[in-house]
Subunit: 132 residues, 2 copies
Amino acid sequence: MNELRNENARAVLATVRERGGHPTALEVYEQVRQMRPKIGLATVYRILHQLTCQGVIRMWGDGSERARYDGRIDRHDHALCTRCGRLLDVPVEIELPRAALEQAARAAGIELDSHEVRIYGRCNDCQARSKA
Amino acid sequence: MNELRNENARAVLATVRERGGHPTALEVYEQVRQMRPKIGLATVYRILHQLTCQGVIRMWGDGSERARYDGRIDRHDHALCTRCGRLLDVPVEIELPRAALEQAARAAGIELDSHEVRIYGRCNDCQARSKA
DNA sequence: ATGGGTGCAAATCCTTTGCATCTGC
DNA sequence: GCAGATGCAAAGGATTTGCACCCAT
């Protein structure tokens, strides 16, 4: 409806979706600024928050860092480089028997809704870097 | 070696280990204060950081919240209540074929080191609460 | 003129740092 | 007296909020 609002929100959403690597709010801001130089950081945060609430994007984090945003909202897993912090999507579905999940959820005292596998290790770049 | 230091560090470690529910730094501070009233929040943060670096405890987070600390350092999975935010340990091992993990890691471009499964849902209390 | 969206700056919240002090050796 | 640890207060960094302004209706 509102033109301006649409433009800003669209730019933010496009950035989160198209940019690889699960950008932080600041990274989104910096990239969006190239399209909309007058946008403020607060607006980026506001829009990211809205989009997250609407379920259009997702917030992701590991507690030791700032929040990152993910344009993919389908269930998928992540791989995190413990050296450089890079966050990668796992492009394949990890087979995990539903029964095992349900049992685990029950054992923990939660009603299973969804799940995510996080893989920790060294990314290819960091492996190459440590050899050099 | 240093007595005082030992006392404070011991109290922090004991709190993280014994208190259920993956406390935040502030929660650790508040509980430790009951034993050592003069301790400062900064010291708690310093000790938590040291213990984390030493691998004695672990930091945990999901990006939308402050860091929490986990006294368990063995590989285990977590269940997160999406309503109240409660973080629970999964008391059973979720069967996940090593081969599937390795394949996923390779596909993502990471050398597999370890992994964690996160289960999302409603905890028992929240289920009861929403029925009431 | 009205309402929603915005930029800017100030405010918050969590965490880290600087520094003078204290403790045990 | 020295080195390491600590408390307090100030600093920092990320995110949110207050508020006056601006644009499309």
